[in-house]
């Protein structure tokens, strides 16, 4: 989808990133490097700044200081190039058009992303099938369950075949089958060379697929030793 990126080895790079919202420090001095083709998982309590980080990477929020780059493109100065590289799923099911059905939502977003009609149709069918949404694809989003909407948001994020995928709380509302499905998708993305960032309150069930695991706390990120998650894998299994 994107012309030759300026940096081949780094998918996501965040340097000294800070952000205050309504007078409160949300991100202090965040540093993060995610090599291309790897999966990075970040956990943090509610309000820790996970969504703020994803929003900055998705170019819908500006940092107060520091830099964020996707595939070498700065999120502030090369917003459009960043948006062409990413697929994002925000933790907001209202970001879907509830009066449209699943298929129409994908059609709409695929078309505004500049995909040819036939490609959107083929890709939508494939993703709806992979995410087990074919049976409900013709029904209004308003009538879907939270888990189904969550999977539809994932399908939408993957529609343009992005090289970097940002997933904000992708496990929210998913049942066990949905969680397994999502993990399979993340593993598939990794196999295909995609860079994946997952942020969630709990990431411990991702240790088998994540290349790096971190905790966002007090506005800063610290790396978690994978062994820290041993014994807690059941939380997302």
């Amino acid at each position: 989808m994107v012309a030759a990126p300026p940096n081949d080895s780094v998918g996501i790079e965040v340097r000294e990133l800070s952000k205050r919202l309504r007078g409160k420090e949300v991100l202090g001095s965040v540093n993060l490097v995610v090599p291309r083709g790897t999966v990075c998982a970040i956990e943090g309590r509610n309000g820790a700044g996970k969504t703020t980080l994803v929003r900055i990477l998705a170019t819908v929020m500006s940092p107060d200081s520091g830099t964020a780059r996707i595939n070498g493109y700065d999120t502030e100065s090369h917003g459009l190039a960043v948006r062409r590289s990413i697929g994002v799923s925000f933790a907001n099911e209202r970001s879907l058009y509830w009066r449209l059905n699943a298929y129409q939502n994908l059609q709409f977003f695929g078309r505004i992303a500049g995909m040819p009609k036939a490609s959107v149709a083929a890709r939508s069918t494939l993703l709806l099938e992979e995410l087990n949404l074919t049976a409900v694809a013709d029904g209004q989003v308003a009538r879907m369950s939270t888990g189904q909407r969550q999977r539809l948001m994932l399908a939408r994020a993957l529609l343009t075949e992005p090289v970097v995928t940002l997933l904000d709380e992708p496990f929210r509302g998913l049942d066990d089958d949905g969680i397994h499905l999502l993990k399979r998708v993340i593993a598939r993305l990794k196999e295909s060379g995609n860079t994946v960032l997952v942020v969630a309150p709990m990431i411990r069930g991702l240790d088998w697929v994540a290349d790096s695991m971190h905790r966002l706390e007090g506005g800063v990120i610290r790396t978690i030793d994978k062994s820290e998650s041993d014994g807690s894998a059941s939380e997302l299994s």
Binding site: K19, L80, R83, F90, R94, W98, F109, I112, A113
Partner: protein
């Protein structure tokens, strides 16, 4: 359908009002005031939704919760603003064309049609009102309000620009203000192209002024929209309403 009925019904009312108007430039012909208002109302019925459509769509996206996701899509933000204007424009144009056809049935006829002038006037007006709409959308994105300001401003512009009355009927200070409105020149050019045999220099002057408005407002609205997204990004308000 309701838009077509409302538009047609409004013009039917003016068909009868025109029978009462028999003074000034409308004396001697009971249909001349009707023709005057038809041109005004049809143009306004396209331009106002084009302008308000952008701020309404931006507000709808905000309230629905889809604005933030749209802003994360690989599309220039200006294109989003233009697509919001386009929706209002397309819908209102279809309605206006149907109403125009129906209006012929109740006595609307034109003296002559200068097609190039009509096309140029409508095109320039749409560009201008799309730009105004994008400035309105910028307000909504930045402040999460501003729709009523846009609607209020447009209703004033519609009246003072001579949609329903010739501006010569207004007090001189309103006439002075009306010359700041692009709609004044659009209406003058369109009426000249459809209803009167005005000198080409007069039409050319109106079109030149409209071109000036378009050239000024297009970059201004582009800057305004881009600035609004920047401000909202800094405030972190794209996902809130």
């Amino acid at each position: 359908m309701s838009g077509i009925i409302a538009g047609f019904w409004g013009l039917v009312a003016f068909r009868f009002v025109s029978k009462l108007v028999n003074s000034g430039q409308f004396s001697g012909d009971s249909t001349s005031y009707f023709r005057f208002t038809v041109v005004g109302l049809l143009l306004v019925s396209i331009l106002v939704p084009t302008a308000t459509g952008a701020s309404m769509s931006a507000r709808n996206e905000q309230v629905q919760g889809t604005l933030e996701y749209l802003a994360s899509q690989p599309v220039p933000r200006l294109a989003l603003g233009l697509s919001w204007s386009a929706y209002g424009f397309i819908e209102s144009s279809v309605i206006a064309i149907i109403v125009a056809v129906l209006t012929v049935m109740i006595g609307f006829n034109v003296a002559h049609i200068d097609i190039p002038v009509v096309i140029a006037t409508i095109f320039l007006s749409i560009v201008i009102f799309s730009a105004i709409g994008n400035l309105g959308a910028a307000l909504v994105i930045m402040l999460q309000q501003g729709m009523s300001l846009v609607a209020g401003l447009l209703s004033v512009v519609v009246i003072i620009s001579g949609t329903l009355f010739p501006i010569s009927e207004f007090p001189s200070w309103i006439q002075a203000i009306s010359h700041l409105s692009p709609l004044t020149y659009a209406l003058e050019a369109l009426r000249s192209a459809l209803l009167t045999n005005q000198a080409p220099t007069s039409i050319a002057k109106d079109l030149a002024i409209l071109t000036g408005f378009a050239l000024m407002l297009m970059p201004l609205s582009s800057f305004g929209l881009s600035r609004a997204f920047r401000v909202a990004q800094r405030k972190g308000s794209l996902g809130t309403y």
